[in-house]
Each structure stands twice: as structure tokens, then as C-alpha cells.
């Protein structure tokens, strides 16, 4: 659809007629936002929870659908098929607002033709050539760009076209065999209710109830919403889970409309903010892509050519990047020196967190900063991370307390087993105490793109300092040390504008000055109001183009706190949402092609012919005076190249993409692949798992055998999945140290069904040991009917539920669930698959010391894995 954020906001859920929560345990992990789900339910909405476990969300939902972890695309794909086979799509919306009519390249071959692969697969390099996925007759990406394949995932809101533009050939009747609509029909035809029953373990009736509820609650008069979280993303085919939901929502006409949309629920206070102004290696602020050393053209004009689009707001990528460079390098950035474009670092490949850990374990990374993370507990395959940390020269950890990532060198589980020895670890660890959000000024960007300012209430104690203080003064000291350097390579650091005002005895930088730079200013130095004011001539500066306007009129818009009851229900004067304070994205789609609300009940943004402008409850996500009947003249560019009835303004063709010709590395349409580790063979295709998934071979990253097709998988016959509890915070650093939270969930436990407990002699309240080929952990046993055994493909599949909050430190201690999981990643965004893998479970506590290693070795022998645990062959 075009932007890397939730299309709607949580308060809007109250307008939904049907809410599907899938891949999320919203009540437990987002209890505050869940109030609007409850409000919708009280207004009569149907609330459906689809999840392997019956959770606190299921407890208050109208329907809970237990599903096998890792089979969601079969379920969602069957909804797509149900819609198409029964003509339940919102036809006018689909015809007008999606790319259903686009005709795809004649060379395209579907997974139907190639038994689970698309055309363009290169089995040696294990990547796709996407040339045949394009709109027919349109230029394709230059070959050099493919080297960046794995690096483009997050850029431009996870997959919009940088090239392309409007499809040259379309069939408005949607009948052409190569038009997207027909490709979709054919592709999803095998996703039937019978397959859902067979693969997901969901009875047909239950599936049909959900599919019908979605169809019945969509259309002109009604809307349905999807809520998801990391239950979808943390899979080796995670991006395609979300894609399938996007297809459903586009077919049903639920995007850009009140009560509709897809709500990406973020698990931290500012996870959305950390991709907007990224902590990711492959994007710059505002989802601009990071330049690549192997990308061919290394000039600013070459970068702009590759990142701009002929239609839509990416047509201004030159303004966005030049304004960013001006914000960073100020007067030093001039038209003559390409605005210091050469100062930007170049990436050379995959530098994501897991690749970095693997490199670290191989001794290729000398130093490491860890802030707001606890990878020794929170990342998949904790042993890999601890082994990697032990290979560093130095490590900086900034946190509230000494977390496991800082203490690994003397209390890691590997110290107990003898796999690491303190006296042999040369890593110099710097633990620096951090200030909390109540001790510093700043903003959070929450799950719905909403920036909310927080003010320091108290001064941090002792040596605790804000992140802003730390980085500002670190930069200042580095610049002081380099001040006399004659080396050209030091110019990017020395030429940076690094002049934030400071105050107080500790010289705390002014956080609002940083926000103002992010917002940007014009030629007169005054704060800008909108990203439409940005220019590519160097006259404007802006630290993040999508945040432009957050400091409009020289006011911190993010600090607005006008109570909701004093405004209309959208409450636009509470905080500030990117972009341009819009709360629902693509909201032009809430009106029909002529600009009239689809229905009185669902009116939101509409064309006001008298005023000659778009009007409504929200900031229109459209050029405000572009009439619905506008047709772009020849030579029009950017948003002016889109028609007045094309609402997806970030896409080069203004359409919502049912079929993604460009931007994804593992396919233009979603496909069910089994998880990297699965007890089941893929019943839909010969291709077992996502062929493009990342599965790094490393001595510290062995894999369980893939499927039951190979008998040895019986060593690890069960499915395990991780999750969070309301009572704890992610990797536990902020909750295991707090008595009031620790007492509410004081010990690591596992959730198993009564049937599995009987099968493995597990005693409720006793202990169990859970084993994978990485390690074994112990947990208290919670036998509960909330975890149901599922009938999958004629046999019973048991699932083991594992909260992942625990580690060896704090008031409440326990083994870490993530230690069991491998590093197997989604190829688009490098996210780990910890929502589905295989394991064994046995009664009693785990062995201590070297005996633990021996137990895991024994399992590996039984699984036929030694001597090369990293190997996996064949067409897996």
C-alpha cells in the first residue's frame, strides 16, 4: 500500500463491524489499546481471535479459532479464495483502487506452474530475478540493483515500486488471463476450506464462519479491521502473512475507511519510531534507502533516479534526500558537492542484527553498542549471541540495570556448562546506566504513527543519563579528538552540524531542538509545516521528511494534549501523527471514485465541490484541491501524475497492490511455506519452506530436521511458539527487576495440553525440559485446555507455548525460551522465526553443567545430525 506503518489508529477500531485479531495477543500485549476493541464489541462488532493458544484475547472474543503455528497463509489464502470464488469482493473499490486490472509480463510463472516457486528463481544464489513479475511492457530494474536484493526490504514502506509507474496494459473488465485479478483467482484456488482443515487444523465450519463474517461486514455500509503483531512477522515468510491480509482488505474495500485497515501493533513504546528514524542498517530516515556500495551509480543524481517514482509522492525523493543531507551537514552541503552525498556510508551487504551476531561470533566485529535491547535473552538462539559477545574487544551496554547481555561474561548459561570460561573472555564490557522516559524530554512514536511528547519529571539519579546526552557528548568528544585531522575520511564527522543547545550542570541537550531539526526549516530558517514544502535545491533542511510538520508554527505539535472529549472522535489535536497529522492513511479511498462517501454510515473524507477541496474528519491523504475527475496531463510528475481517483498516493500507479511486481524478494503473491522447522510436510507444494529464507550455516546455529518426511524428525516431534505475558516486558530487563511485576508471573513456565501432558508424563505445577538442537531449557508445567492439540493431515500435532521473558538475572529468574530457537529469517526484513519451530519436551528439570551439553548432543545423534549440525540439503 505504500507506507511502513499501520493504516489506521486504535481509536478507530470502535467503528469496526468485525475485528480479526491474528498473529497478535492484543488484550495481553496491548491492553490499553484493546479498550477500543471492547468498545466495538459493545457496539455490536464481532471480535475474532485466531491464534494457536486460547489467550486473554480469546477469552473476551466472540470466536476463538485455534490454528497451527506457521499455517496462517493457508487460512488467509482461503479467505481470499472464498471472496473470489463467491464474488464477495467490493467490486467498485477493487476496479477503481487496486491494481487488479494490470496485466503482468507474459514470462511470469506462478507457484501453480512451478510447484511452489515463482519464475526467476536462481537455485545457486537462492534469490529471485524479479524481471518476469513486472507489469507487461514496463521497464524493469537495472540488473545492478539486484545485488541490493536483501537490502531493499524495509525501504519505501516495505515494498512499493521505485520504478514502474502506471501499468501500460490493463483490462478494466478483469477478464484477461494475465491480469492481476485472474492471476489471483488461479493462485489462491487451491486454498480451500478443506486445505484449511488439513493444514491449519481448523474445522471447515469454523473457517467458513470467519470468512463469512469478514464478507458480511465489508462493503459500502460496513467495514472490518485486522490487527496483527509479531505473531505474523516472526516467521521465515512473515512479510507475506501481512501481504495476504492486505489482499483481503483490498478485495473487501476495507483500506482507507473508518473501522477498516490493518493495524500493525508494535511491542514497544517507540518501535514505530525506530523504523521511521531508523535503527535499521538499510534505510535512512523516512524510509529512504541506504546507498549501496555495489549499487553501481554512486552520485546523488543516480541515487535519486533509482529512488524516485514517476507518479505519487516518491516523485519527490530528491527533495527528501537533499533536505536530509542539509539537516545533517548544513552549510557544508552544497549543490557543487552533491550536498555531501558522498559522506553517507555505503552498505556492502546484509548488516542486519543476526548477520552482525554471526560475524561477531567469527571475530569480524571488534566493538558493539547495545541500547534498548537484551539480545542474550530477547534474540533467537541466545547461545549464538553470548558466544558472539565473548569474541568482542569491547561492548557498551546502556540500560537501567545490568542485564544478561552485560553480565554474560560471568553468569551466562554457557559458563555453567563450561562452553565459556570467564578467564578466557577478553571482551571489555562498559555498562552505562540509562535514564528512564520520566527523566528525560523526548517523543515516542507509537503503534499508530502518533508522536507523543514526554517531559522530564525528575532529574536522573547518579550516573544515569539520557540517550540524547550520551550520543551528543560522544559525538562532541569524537569531533574534538578529530578536530585537527587532515584526513578526508574524517570530514563527514567534522562537517556534521552538531550544535544542539545544552542546559544545566550536566549540559543536557535540548530535545526540542532535535525535534525541530527533524521537522525541518525553510530558507528563512522558520519551521516548515509540510513535506510538500521541501525542495531539492538545498534551500530546505529536514531530518525526516515524513515527520515534517511535527514542529509547525514553531510549536511542538507532539506535545498537544487536548482531551478527547473536547474534540471530535478522531481527536486530531492529541499529539501529532505522521504523515501530516493523518490518522487514517489512504483515506481518499473512504469516498467513491466521484468523491462521495461510500455510505453515510462510513463517511470520513469526501470531495466538497463547492469549496473545491477534500474535506472530512481527518487530514485528507490526497492533494487537497485535486478534483476526483482530474486526469494528469502529459508530462505530469509525482502526485500530479496520479488521477483524481487514485488514492494510494505513495505508489507509482496510485493503486493498492494485490500483486506486488516489485519490492519483495520472495514472491509477488503470498504462498504457504512450512516454517523452517516443521513437523509437517508442505501439503500444497513440493517446495517445503520459503526458498528465499535466510538460514545461515554456522557452528552455533544448527537446525532441527525439517519435516516428518524424514523419519529422524521424530526426535523433535512438537511445535513450539514464543509469546509475551502482560505481566512482563519483552526480554525482562524492565520487569524481572520489579517486585510488583515479578510476583504476578514469578517463574518461567510452559503451556501444554492435557493430552501432551499425558503423552509425556508432564505434571501440572512440576517441571519440564524442552529440547531443541540448540540447547535444552527447563520450565514449570502449566497443563491447560487453552492449548489444544490439533488434527493436521490426519494426525495430532501438539504445540508447546513458551513465554520468552526470562533469563538468569533479576528477582524472577528462569531459562530463556529464545535459547531454543534457530536463526532462520524472513528474507525481506531479516526477522527471526520464533513463532514456530520444533522441539521435544520431557518431564523433570534439565541437567546441570556439562550434562546439559551431553543431553543435547544425544538428541543430535538421534536426529542424525552430527557431525555437521549446520547442514541442510535438498529442496528444503
Amino acid at each position: 500500500m505504500g507506507r511502513g506503518g499501520a493504516t489506521t489508529f486504535q481509536q478507530d477500531l470502535r467503528n469496526s463491524d468485525c475485528i480479526v485479531i491474528m498473529g497478535s495477543n492484543m488484550a495481553e500485549c496491548h491492553p490499553v489499546g484493546f479498550q477500543w476493541v471492547m468498545e466495538a464489541k459493545q457496539r455490536g462488532a464481532k471480535v475474532i481471535h485466531i491464534d494457536p493458544r486460547f489467550t486473554r484475547t480469546s477469552a473476551v472474543a466472540d470466536v476463538h479459532v485455534p490454528v497451527r503455528a506457521g499455517s496462517d497463509i493457508v487460512f488467509l489464502g482461503a479467505v481470499v479464495n472464498h471472496i473470489l470464488a463467491n464474488g464477495r469482493e467490493f467490486r467498485e473499490y477493487v476496479e477503481a483502487y487496486t491494481n487488479a486490472s494490470a496485466i503482468i509480463d507474459p514470462g511470469f510463472r506462478d507457484t501453480e506452474d512451478l510447484d511452489g516457486l515463482f519464475s526467476g528463481w536462481d537455485p545457486d544464489r537462492r534469490i529471485y530475478d524479479t524481471a518476469t513479475w513486472q507489469y507487461e511492457g514496463l521497464d524493469v530494474l537495472p540488473a545492478a540493483a539486484h545485488a541490493e536484493g536483501a537490502a531493499v526490504g524495509e525501504a519505501h514502506g516495505q515494498g512499493s515500486s521505485l520504478h514502474g509507474g502506471r501499468p501500460p496494459s490493463v483490462d478494466p473488465t478483469l477478464q484477461h488471463p494475465r491480469c492481476v485479478f485472474q492471476l489471483l483467482r488461479r493462485h489462491f484456488a487451491r486454498y480451500t476450506p478443506e486445505r484449511v482443515e488439513e493444514v491449519c487444523g481448523v474445522p471447515r465450519d469454523m473457517f467458513l464462519e470467519v470468512a463469512e463474517a469478514l464478507c458480511a461486514n465489508s462493503g459500502r455500509e460496513r467495514t472490518s479491521a485486522f490487527c496483527y503483531a509479531v505473531g505474523w512477522t516472526q516467521h521465515s515468510v512473515g512479510v507475506q502473512y501481512i501481504r495476504t491480509a492486505a489482499i483481503i482488505q483490498l478485495l473487501l474495500g476495507n483500506v482507507g475507511r473508518p473501522g477498516g485497515g490493518i493495524l500493525a501493533l508494535r511491542g514497544h513504546a517507540s518501535i514505530q519510531g525506530s523504523t521511521d528514524i531508523p535503527t535499521l542498517y538499510n534505510i535512512l530516515p523516512g524510509y529512504l534507502s541506504m546507498p549501496h556500495a555495489g549499487g553501481g551509480v554512486q552520485t546523488l543524481s543516480g541515487y535519486v533516479e533509482r529512488t524516485s517514482a514517476p507518479g505519487g509522492f516518491w516523485g519527490h525523493s530528491d527533495s527528501y534526500i537533499v533536505s536530509l543531507l542539509k539537516a545533517w551537514w548544513g552549510p557544508a552541503a552544497t549543490a557543487e558537492n552533491d550536498f555531501c552525498f558522498d559522506y553517507l556510508p555505503r552498505i556492502t551487504g546484509d548488516h542486519s542484527t543476526y548477520q552482525t551476531a554471526l560475524d561477531m561470533a567469527d571475530g569480524k566485529v571488534p566493538g558493539f553498542f547495545v541500547i534498548g535491547e537484551n539480545p542474550a535473552v530477547g534474540s533467537a538462539n541466545g547461545k549464538l549471541h553470548r558466544q558472539a559477545l565473548a569474541k568482542l574487544d569491547w561492548l557498551v551496554v546502556r540500560d537501567f540495570c545490568e542485564i544478561e547481555t552485560a553480565s554474560f561474561w560471568y553468569d551466562a548459561p554457557e559458563i555453567e556448562t563450561g562452553e565459556l570460561r570467564t578467564q578466557e573472555i577478553a571482551t571489555e564490557v562498559f555498562f552505562l546506566p540509562a535514564a528512564t522516559h520520566t527523566e528525560k524530554d523526548g517523543s515516542f512514536t507509537n503503534t499508530q504513527r502518533l508522536l507523543q511528547w514526554h517531559h522530564a519529571a525528575v532529574v536522573p539519579e547518579g550516573d544515569c543519563r539520557s540517550d540524547l546526552w550520551f550520543y551528543f557528548h560522544l559525538g562532541r568528544v569524537i569531533r574534538d579528538k578529530l578536530a585537527a585531522s587532515p584526513l578526508e575520511r574524517d570530514r563527514p564527522v567534522l562537517d556534521l552540524t552538531w550544535d544542539y543547545p545544552t542546559s544545566g550542570p550536566r549540559a543536557e541537550p535540548d530535545a526540542e531542538a532535535v525535534l525541530r531539526e527533524i521537522n525541518g526549516w525553510g530558507p528563512d530558517g522558520a519551521a516548515l509545516s509540510s513535506y510538500t514544502e521541501l525542495r531539492a535545491d538545498g534551500s530546505t533542511a529536514c531530518g525526516c521528511w515524513i515527520y515534517c510538520g511535527c514542529f509547525a508554527q514553531e510549536n511542538n505539535q507532539t506535545a498537544r494534549r487536548r482531551p478527547g472529549q473536547d474534540q471530535h472522535w478522531v481527536a486530531p489535536e492529541w499529539g501529532w501523527a505522521w504523515p501530516a497529522n493523518r490518522r487514517i492513511l489512504y483515506n481518499r479511498a473512504s469516498a467513491d471514485p466521484q468523491g462521495r462517501p461510500w455510505s453515510e454510515r462510513k463517511r470520513y473524507v469526501w470531495w466538497d465541490g463547492d469549496q473545491g477541496r477534500w474535506s472530512g474528519f481527518d487530514v485528507p491523504d490526497f492533494k487537497v484541491d485535486m478534483a476526483p475527475d482530474y486526469v494528469p496531463p502529459d508530462g505530469a510528475t509525482a502526485e500530479d501524475a496520479l488521477r483524481g481517483d487514485e488514492p494510494f498516493v505513495m505508489q507509482a500507479d496510485g493503486r493498492g497492490w494485490l500483486f506486488v511486481p516489485n519490492g519483495l524478494v520472495d514472491g509477488p503473491l503470498p504462498v504457504h511455506y512450512e516454517p523452517h522447522e516443521s513437523p509437517c510436510a508442505n501439503p500444497l507444494y513440493a517446495q517445503q519452506a520459503n526458498p528465499a529464507r535466510q538460514r545461515p550455516r554456522h557452528r552455533h546455529n544448527p537446525f532441527n530436521p525439517a519435516s516428518e518426511g524424514r523419519g529422524e524428525a521424530r526426535a523433535f516431534p512438537y511445535v513450539m511458539t514464543t509469546y509475551r505475558l502482560t505481566e512482563h516486558h519483552t526480554a525482562g530487563g524492565m520487569s524481572r527487576t520489579v517486585a510488583y511485576l515479578s510476583e504476578l508471573q514469578p517463574e518461567m513456565f510452559c503451556e501444554v495440553s492435557p493430552e501432551l501432558a499425558a503423552e509425556r508424563q508432564l505434571v501440572h505445577g512440576g517441571w519440564a525440559t524442552i529440547v531443541s538442537t540448540r540447547t535444552a531449557i527447563e520450565a514449570r508445567v502449566m497443563v491447560t485446555r487453552r492449548v489444544a492439540p490439533l488434527r493436521v493431515g490426519g494426525r495430532i500435532v501438539h504445540q508447546v507455548g513458551l513465554p520468552y521473558h526470562w533469563g538468569q538475572r533479576g528477582l524472577s529468574t528462569g531459562d530463556s525460551a529464545n535459547d531454543l530457537f534457530p536463526v532462520a529469517l524472513d528474507p525481506n526484513v531479516h526477522i527471526q522465526e520464533v513463532k514456530a519451530a520444533t522441539c521435544d519436551i520431557r518431564p523433570g528439570r534439565r541437567p546441570r553443567g556439562p550434562a546439559l551439553v551431553a543431553l543435547v548432543e544425544d538428541y543430535r545423534r538421534r536426529a542424525g545430525q552430527a557431525p555437521d549440525p549446520g547442514a541442510d540439503g535438498g529442496r528444503a
Binding site: E28, V63, A739, L744, E747
Partner: protein, 264 residues
């Protein structure tokens, strides 16, 4: 009910409780209630166990196996009930009746509060409570329980638990308004097919004269650990004293009669 303004109460609608325990944490944070032990109880997600001196809110978790309704495809064969329990602030409060020091008192808001600096730790109130709410701390034996955030009420704020509750399961307000709201809610739920919805503690004719903190439940009170028919334990006190006095008089009369007879 008094010159200070209407009696206030809690209406806890368990049908919208999501078991987040924000009420437990908010209560402890505001009132400085100590940690109550890091014990894994293997009782669903309840590791608090019961109300006590160091837990003034307690969320019960009840997992029930239910027959899967055939035909409509809904349900997993499981129901998971959650309910946040608290002191009932009874209209006829036995703890208050038995307190010898006046540490327990009826506040101007109609709530029942213990004054920690007056309590002498005698513990009479503990067995007097028909709900098992009030409890002594092990350190010096003084009794503690929910104060209905007496300090917050005085400052015009709602109690911490109600403010923290994200789904409005815990509702605070004038008791009369809450009772009317609860009656509407329970009939709405019943109309929507939740036949098992019922109110608990709202009836002024019950054994405690009606509770200041009452509940909408989805099953029998016993399922949540609540007594089905609570009775103020001091109900029969006056009668017992009368009986004792009568017995004493009879005894005295008998003794007198014996002495009178022996003079003969």
C-alpha cells in the same frame, strides 16, 4: 446517604475484564503495599492467590472446559473467566462492628477504612469478615485492606485501580448510579444471549446489607471464590448477648432459688 455526599462504590463488570492485573499493580504502587511473595501457584495465571494484607486487589482466573457448540463453529471448548476482587465495603460491616480501638471506621464516602496508626493488631476483624478480605501483616500484626484510596477520594480522584483499568471493567462512582448502570448492563448481556450474567453484592437485602463493591459475574459466585450468601458475622450478636444475658439471669435465679430453699 450522609451529609458529605453520595456513597461511592465499585462496579466490577467481569464480562469485560482482560486479566491484565493493572489494578493489582496500580493499587500497590499508590498505596505502597509490599510484595506478596514470588510464588508460582500453577493456578492458571493467578499467582496472587487471594486478597490479604499485602494484596488489596486480586484477579481470579478460572479456566473451564465447555462443550463445543456444534453447528456455529464457534468456541474452543474453553472458557476463561477473569475477575478483579476487592474489599466489599459492606453496608453492614462486621470488621467495623468488632474493632475495639476504632481503627476501622466508616468514611464520609461510605467506605470502610482501617487507620494503620490506630490499629493495635488484635485481629478480631479477621474472622469477622464474611469474605476473608481483611488480614494481618506478619511483622507487627496490624490489619490491612483496601482503603478505597481514601486519600485519593479526598483529593477528588478516583481510586488507582479504577483509573488504571483499561477496559472499564472496574467502574467507580456514586453507588446508586453504579447500581442502575449495572442493572442495564446485565439485562443487555442477557438480551444478547449471555443468560448466565448476574449481579453479585448489589442487593441491599442481602446478608451484608448490600456491598459498596459489587460485581457482574458470568457464573456462580463460588466459581470465583466468592461466598454465595455472605452474612455479616455480627448479625446474631445482639441476640446472642440477649440469650447469654437470659441464661445468666436464669442461672442467677436458679442459684438464688437453691439458696432460698436451703434456708428452710
Amino acid at each position: 446517604m450522609n451529609e458529605h455526599g453520595p456513597r461511592v462504590g465499585f462496579f466490577t463488570d467481569t464480562s469485560v475484564c482482560i486479566g491484565c492485573k493493572a489494578c493489582e499493580v496500580a493499587c500497590k504502587e499508590w498505596n505502597g503495599v509490599p510484595e506478596d511473595g514470588l510464588d508460582f501457584r500453577a493456578t492458571s495465571y493467578d499467582n496472587t492467590g487471594m486478597l490479604g494484607a499485602n494484596s488489596w486487589r486480586h484477579v481470579a482466573f478460572v479456566e473451564q472446559a465447555r462443550p463445543v457448540p456444534s453447528g456455529d463453529g464457534g468456541g474452543s471448548g474453553v472458557r476463561w473467566l477473569m475477575s478483579s476482587d476487592v474489599c466489599k465495603h459492606c453496608t453492614r460491616a462486621a470488621c467495623l462492628d468488632v474493632c475495639p480501638t476504632g481503627a476501622l471506621f466508616r468514611s464520609e464516602f461510605g467506605t470502610v477504612v482501617v487507620q494503620a496508626d490506630v490499629c493495635n493488631g488484635c485481629g478480631y476483624c479477621v474472622p469477622a469478615c464474611p469474605f476473608g478480605v481483611i488480614d494481618q501483616r506478619k511483622d507487627d500484626g496490624r490489619a490491612w485492606k483496601c482503603t478505597f484510596c481514601y486519600d485519593r477520594l479526598g483529593a477528588g480522584l478516583e481510586p488507582a485501580c479504577a483509573q488504571a483499568c483499561p477496559t472499564d471493567s472496574i467502574q467507580f462512582g456514586p453507588l446508586d448510579e453504579l447500581r442502575a448502570r449495572a442493572a442495564r448492563r446485565v439485562s443487555r448481556l442477557q438480551e444478547q444471549g449471555t443468560a448466565e450474567a448476574r449481579l453479585y453484592g448489589h442487593d441491599q437485602g442481602d446478608g451484608v446489607g448490600g456491598a459498596g463493591a459489587f460485581f457482574l459475574l458470568l457464573d456462580d459466585p463460588e466459581v470465583y471464590g466468592l461466598p454465595p450468601d455472605p452474612v455479616v458475622t455480627t448479625r446474631d450478636l445482639a441476640g446472642m448477648w440477649r440469650a447469654a444475658a437470659a441464661a445468666a439471669l436464669s442461672l442467677a435465679a436458679g442459684v438464688a432459688a437453691v439458696f432460698a430453699g436451703s434456708r428452710r
